[in-house]
Each structure stands twice: as structure tokens, then as C-alpha cells.
Symmetry: C3
Subunit: 210 residues, 3 copies
């Protein structure tokens, strides 16, 4: 039940982020719906494929397409009247990342998978939708920009797992995991939080390799 | 039986479109075969993965690789003797889009899935092969250009579903669905048919976000 | 047992190649780990999805994430102290290509699939990880550059299959297949080996199509 709610919310939030990106790219009406759909179902579909869950979460349930369509159309109506702030897109994306990270981790944890796989499933589930959106819309994926993105997802999945294994119960674990993701993302967006990079010494010559 | 024929035809047509694109990009011989293969099996493979159909349609049947290889080599022979018109690539692509859209929708409809999922499966199956081809060949995906592409696929899937649910029989439904896709694509290519876009008011400042 | 060793080695080698690419791109610490992970598990995950093997090879076995993490961190330590030669990246990639090509072909052969599917599975398994790495890191995929890449993978899969079907035993077939891939890749990298391309006559006008 909690997982179903997480999925629905994640689908709605990622649909909005996909629609916002498509609107910014001035795609046509259906392009907006397609971008919203792919962003919304990408992460959960990968999760269900990897864990061999059948049927895939959206296939047998007409609620999901309905939610996506409504979210995409409302987003479009809104963007016709107002500018799309860059921040709105990134906040919607942060929400989707949090929801799907925790949903992927929660499902993997219930299957009794080892801890690294739980974290990896959470991260893949969280990141896949936004990555697909960015590749489809020909943007440099958010995940690759030099701020905390996959890191936030990994931290959230670990936080979820720690609370859940410590017997904290499903709902608190979900909330703690989501808070970790969102706080880290917001800090990255507004405070420029980032991990150390690894500048390499003089490798300009290599760049010219064939 | 109808579905098997659709799949084989779709595979042949998408193999041609993949080989044409690779030849234009001056990929090497095997690059052409690889592009043809990925384009040809991409959509159907996604369909079978999502619907948990086993084995994947091409895995246990040597007919498919044979068809792909023959189609790719014939295309290469042809392109050595003549210019590759942009139109040929787009027509082959339209044919593959029509065939796989209807095949995805038909298989989903037979499984008794709800209408939105039937349409979504048709669209994903139709669009995945060409999208993979374009991403692999480093082209802006046809699906993203400002003409009717995913729209044509969605319209075809809906048309198929309407005729099929109305008791029109398998073959008429297939034909109606395909005609919708092809007519819309041809209109988009030659008449510049397109959906309205949503120009945004003054968002230039946002474009400069980090 | 041989297959498990192949998988572990392939994972380690592709993890190094993913980490090297990420370090060159100056991704952050977790970005490096994510790139290493996606590169390392991409090919085998596609293989297991297509062949409906459950669970996916890394999901129930904590050895894989551990190997990936150690390989990524050692690579980072190394790149902090020394320049990353272009050659190292390509050699690690060639090793991963060889290992996963043979592992994909071997698993498909044991399932009794027809020969073209065995070769195709080997090629997809071998190429997917590196392709994902390049797409994620926004590089032109190695597979598309004008040297022998997919060709090496196809040749290795065929070599494996020939030895295996001739009753040569598992280990010799594996070794022969890997030698084919690596020799062809090294020849392509250092000797400029490439297949003929197919230059097209005067198609400049087509390039300007809509």
C-alpha cells in the first residue's frame, strides 16, 4: 500500500518534470505527453524488469496512464501562462528521485536481497526516469552535472535500509530515505554542494587520441 | 500467424532503415549490420521484455537474423550504386513504425490489458527501434523533430484498438491501424503536418541556469 | 564456474574502464562509482534480461558490488598519481568486451539457441556495458568509431561457437573466443585496422533534408 502510493506519487512528479523539460524544448503536444510518460515510468519499469516482477507496475493498472496524462496536461496549461523556472524542473526531479529511490530500495529489501543490491536497485530505480528524459530531450543528463545527484540517491537508499533493518518500520524508513534525498538535492541546487572531483594532471595530449 | 508476419516485415523494414542510416554515416560493413540489427529488434525486444514473453521473439528463431542480414546487405548493394534519398530512409522508418506499433498493440490487446496500456505498448514497441538507431548513430531522434511521429504511432494504436474491440476482426484492425500510422507519417514528411507547440514566454534567463 | 569467473573478471575490467572514463570527465567521487557500476553490469544485465535468467547475475550476490567498488577506488587512487593514458582505457575496454562477449555466447550456446542468436547474444552482452558508459559520459560511443569494435565481438563469438560445437571443450572455446576479440581490438587500436566503409556518391543535398 505504501509502495503503491510511492509509485503513484513518483509517477506524477516525474511526469511533471518530463512535461516541463519537453515544454522548455518546445516539443509538440504529444511530444510533451511522451516525454512525461517515459520519465514517469522509466525508473519503475527498470526496477520491475530487473526484479522480474510481473506484470510491470503500469501495464495492468489504468490509474498510471491517467495520472501521467493529467499531470502532463496540467503542466502544459501552467506553462502557457507562466514562465517555467529552472528551479521548478529541478525540484520536481528531486521529488521523483526521492520517491523512486525509496520505492526501489523498499521492494529490493523485502525480497531479502543483500545490502549493496538494495542500494543499487534504489539508485537505478531513482535515476533511470530522469536519465531517459534527459537523453530523449538531448540534454546533458542532470546525473552528470557536477552536483550531488546519484550521491543523493545512494544516501537515501542507505538511510532507508538502515532504518528498515534497525526495525524502524516501513513508513519511518520511507520518510527518512526521502528526506535524505531531497535535502541533499536541494543543498546541491541552491548551495552548490558537491563532492570533490579528481582533476587529472596534464592529460591534454590524450584528449586528442583517435 | 498475422503477428508473426507483422514482426518479420517490421524487422525487414527497420533493418533497411538502420542500414540506410549507417550507410549515410559511413559506418563500416559490420557497423551497418549492427545498426540494422539493433533497429530491427529494438522495438520487439522491448515489447517482449515488458510483457514477459519468453523467449524474446528473435532468440529462438533463426529466421530473424537471416532476414536482417539479407536486408542489410541488399541495402548496402543498393546504396553503392545510387544516392540514398532522405525520403527512402523516412519511408522505411514509417513502415517499421506502423508494423511494430500494431504488433505491440495487438499482443497487448490479446492479453486483455486496459486500453491505455495497449496504446502505450503499441507506441513503445513502434518507437523503440528507430530511437535506438538514432541514438546509436548520434542523430537527433526522428521522434523529437517537430513533426508527427509518436502522434502517428499513438493514433495507429488507438485505431487498431477501436476496430478490434468493435469486433472488426484481427486483419482489418491491423490494416486500419497501419494505414493511420503511414498516412500521418507521410503527411508529416511531405506536407509538413505538425501539432501545435507551446512557445514559452521569455525564458531566456532560465536557459542560463547552472 | 568458468562463467562465474568470466563474469567477475568482466565486471572488474569494465568497472576500471568506466572509472577511467569518469575520471577523465572529472566526474565527482560517486559519479565515478556510478559510471563504473553501470559499465560493469550493463552487458550482463541485458544478457540476463533477454534470456530471462533470474535473478539477474549481480542482484543476489554481494561479490559483484564489492568488486566494482574496489576496482573503482583503486582506479581513482591510481589516476590521482599518474596521467590516464588513452591506451589504458581502451585496453580495459577490450578486456571487458572479450570477457562479456564470450560469457554471453557461452550462456546462449548452453541453452541450445540457434547459431545466429548465440552470436547476437555474445555481441549484445559484450557491447552494452561500454555503450552505456559512453552514452552516460556523453562520448561518441567507441562502437561507432571507424575501427573494428562490434566486428571483434562478432568474430570472438563465432570463434567461441565453432570451437565449442566442434567439441573442443568449454575452457579452450572461451580462450579462443577471447583471443580473437582482444587481438582484433589491439590491432584496431594500434595498427589502425578497419573494415571497408561505403562512401556514398554526392548525397550532400540530402543532408539538408528537414
Amino acid at each position: 500500500m505504501i509502495l503503491y502510493t510511492l509509485d503513484l506519487l513518483g509517477v506524477a512528479v516525474f511526469a511533471i518534470s518530463g512535461a516541463l523539460m519537453a515544454a522548455r524544448k518546445e516539443l509538440d503536444l504529444l511530444g510533451v505527453v511522451v516525454a512525461a510518460t517515459v520519465t514517469a515510468i522509466g525508473g519503475g519499469t527498470l526496477r520491475d524488469l530487473l526484479l522480474d516482477r510481473n506484470p510491470i507496475f503500469w501495464i495492468a493498472d489504468p490509474t498510471y496512464p491517467t495520472v501521467i496524462l493529467v499531470a502532463a496536461l496540467l503542466t502544459l496549461l501552467y506553462t502557457r501562462r507562466a514562465r517555467v523556472p529552472e528551479g521548478a524542473l529541478r525540484l520536481a526531479d528531486a521529488g521523483g528521485l526521492a520517491l523512486f529511490t525509496v520505492s526501489g530500495a523498499a521492494i529490493a529489501a523485502r525480497l531479502g536481497l543483500p545490502a549493496p543490491s538494495v542500494v543499487l536497485m534504489g539508485t537505478l530505480t531513482g535515476c533511470a526516469g530522469g536519465l531517459l528524459r534527459d537523453v530523449l530531450c538531448n540534454e546533458v543528463p542532470l546525473i552528470l552535472r557536477r552536483d550531488v545527484y546519484a550521491t543523493a540517491s545512494i544516501a537515501g537508499a542507505i538511510a532507508y535500509l538502515v532504518v528498515w533493518r534497525a526495525g524502524g518500520g516501513e513508513l519511518p524508513a520511507v520518510l527518512v530515505g526521502m528526506v535524505f534525498v531531497i535535502v541533499l538535492r536541494v543543498a546541491a541546487i541552491y548551495r552548490g554542494l558537491h563532492l570533490p572531483t579528481f582533476p587529472l594532471r596534464d592529460h591534454t595530449k590524450d584528449e586528442e587520441g583517435p
